[in-house]
């Protein structure tokens, strides 16, 4: 792990965190606007030009609202939960390379060689909060698992049935979907040969194609799992309003509720960045990203714009999907994860292993993905319907009552 200038890092941290929180604020506005447009409405348009200052008004409202802490809660965990939710969500962004990074050096044979390679790496302008984290994506997944603590603590400490049911659903859902989430990207790591996000983005940049071309099925599985991990709408059972009032944040008010909601949008942003880097080449854009390479600052900004644009496309897609697909039933949710996505992810991983072992061209993996998906479609056992046999009574024939009811 190379050491870096603290002052420089502080500037990058403030800039990136401010940027991420700004994106989160405007995602709430985008959510409301897109919801409105899809329902043929206009959406919030009174605060500022076209409603652009709405996030500020919302934030101010959250701070000024009365903060109600019910008497029946477990105060320690009740106060801890929003902090855990926000901190784990924000920490995951630390390893995301925002642009202009070079891949960190591989392990060296001698200490001298190691030191010199680290020095060379340090001399580059690295636009990432924690450069050179070799476990990269594992760190993101680990924090994603920690994020469920925020939900469980909130649900448990609130001492309310709605919160508890929401938290139980959430824990079951997040633990189930973590498996396909991690397993679907194993193929990517096998292809690239590294867990480091900087290396993965660099690999796609130097190969001039994106990994979604050779791993479309993995991308699909990762997309669905990421929605489930972030409790986005087809999978928002932890806070299903019609059933659970507000789910795990029922008992929260004021800025604590704001933190809970903010954490969800931070998860969306993180998932967008991770998807862009793993499957859509990060800051690479078919070689176009290097046109400003003479001026390092311009190049960094340009690459940042490319990455953020990809992330925003992902977020926009999530907003549209929210109004397209209705919420799954809980048994369907579990069936999809355990009966469809995990086997598919495993099969996809086996395909990658075979192709790597025999050194075949990677494009075969695209055909393998399509074949696997088709095979899953042909699989006779229905995934979303419970295996319940309806006990059919013997059909009575000719009876007056029967003919009336069946309309024959």
């Amino acid at each position: 792990m190379p050491s870096f200038e603290p002052g420089y890092l502080a500037i990058v941290i403030v800039a990136l965190m401010g940027g991420v929180l700004g994106v989160v604020g405007y995602l709430t506005l985008a959510e409301r606007k897109v919801s409105a447009w899809i329902q043929d409405r206009l959406g919030p348009n009174r605060v500022g030009p076209g409603g652009l200052l709405q996030p500020l008004a919302d934030g101010g409202k959250f701070f000024l609202k009365e903060e109600v802490i019910p008497k029946h809660v477990d105060r320690v965990f009740y106060l801890l939960a929003p902090a855990v939710a926000v901190i784990t969500a924000l920490l995951a962004i630390a390893v995301v390379p925002f642009g202009s990074t070079v891949a960190p050096p591989a392990p060296q044979a001698t200490i001298d060689a190691f030191e010199s390679s680290q020095a060379a790496y340090r001399s580059h302008f690295s636009f990432v909060l924690a450069p050179g984290v070799d476990i990269g994506i594992l760190y993101v997944f680990a924090l994603g698992s920690l994020a469920v603590y925020g939900v469980i603590l909130a649900g448990w400490s609130a001492n309310s049935k709605y919160s508890l049911i929401g938290a139980l659903r959430s824990s079951a859902q997040i633990i189930s979907y973590e498996i396909p989430l991690g397993m679907s990207v194993l193929g990517v790591f096998l292809i690239v040969g590294s867990l480091n996000l900087e290396t993965i983005a660099g690999w796609q940049g130097s190969h001039r194609y994106w990994l979604v071309l050779v791993q479309p099925l993995a991308f699909l599985l990762f997309l669905v799992s990421a929605y489930a991990e972030g409790s986005r709408l087809p999978f928002d059972l932890p806070e299903a309003e019609q059933e659970l009032v507000g789910g795990y944040h029922t008992e929260y008010s004021s800025m604590k509720l704001g933190f809970m909601l903010m954490a969800e949008y931070v998860h969306l942003v993180t998932a967008g960045l991770i998807v862009s880097i793993l499957f859509f080449g990060g800051w690479s854009l078919f070689g176009l990203e290097s046109i400003f390479d003479r001026v390092p600052v311009l190049a960094a900004i340009f690459k940042l714009i490319i990455l953020v644009a990809k992330m925003l496309i992902y977020c926009a897609f999530a907003l549209v999907v929210r109004w397209t697909i209705p919420r799954f039933r809980f048994d369907q949710l579990m069936s999809i994860a355990w009966k469809a996505m995990i086997p598919l992810a495993l099969a996809n991983l086996v395909c990658v292993m075979i192709v790597k072992q025999y050194g075949w061209p990677l494009i075969w993996l695209a055909f393998a993905s399509v074949g696997l998906l088709a095979a899953a479609g042909l699989w006779h056992g229905s995934v979303t319907m419970p295996r319940r046999k309806v006990a059919r009574p013997p059909v009575a024939t000719g009876g007056l009552a029967t003919s009336r009811l069946t309309g024959v």
């Binding site: 899809i38 043929d40 206009l42 549209v320 397209t324 998906l373 229905s382």
Partner: protein, 186 residues
């Protein structure tokens, strides 16, 4: 009577085909719908800036119509006050001035409580001389209860206002007021 076993009709969900099992075609279909709506024309009315277009039979604030000579058409027959389910109309009748031909009475006062009114339109239905009408004025506000009790002058001014603004043109042009205005036979 309990339902006999033979009367129960068992219905099962239709079997999913290959494309249904893949989920993706259905989702693309759904996305087409939502994205189509994303760019379609919006139906929201921007209220304070954009006034709604109300149909002529909208039941808003009442008005008392004037006849051709600018006098109140009302003949104080009490039909509206009788028909009113909310009892919000209060009329004091008086013999009409001698130069008002063709009628016997006129309302000395005509008070209508806009807060009691339920805007059912029964008064308009009941009126034999088309004197009371409901207009398309919908944004009625006031700072006190007294302000919302409309007297004859106010109701006539609503007529002047709505005919001038063109939102509710004069709907009746009858010269004679009708049988309700005439003195009782004998």
């Amino acid at each position: 009577m309990p339902i006999a076993e033979s009367e129960v009709r068992w219905v099962e969900a239709p079997k999913l085909g290959f494309w249904d099992q893949l989920y993706l075609p259905a989702m693309v279909d759904g996305l087409k719908t939502t994205v189509g709506h994303l760019f379609s024309k919006k139906i929201t009315e921007q209220y304070p800036e954009q006034e709604p277009k109300l149909p002529g039979n909208y039941r808003g604030v009442h008005r008392l119509n004037r006849d051709e000579a600018g006098r109140v058409r009302c003949v104080a027959c009490y039909m509206c006050a009788t028909a009113c389910p909310a009892h919000c109309i209060d009329i004091v009748a008086a013999p009409s001035p001698p130069d008002w031909t063709g009628r016997e009475k006129y309302p000395e006062t005509f008070v209508l409580d806009e807060l009691r009114c339920i805007y059912c339109g029964m008064c308009e239905e009941a009126c034999p001389v088309d004197a009371i009408e409901l207009t398309t004025l919908y944004d009625l506000t006031g700072l006190s209860r007294e302000e919302m009790v409309f007297d004859k002058e106010k109701l006539l001014s609503v007529f002047d206002f709505t005919t001038k603004a063109g939102t509710d043109p004069v709907r009746t042009h009858g010269g004679r007021l009708g049988p309700a205005s005439e003195p009782p036979p004998g």
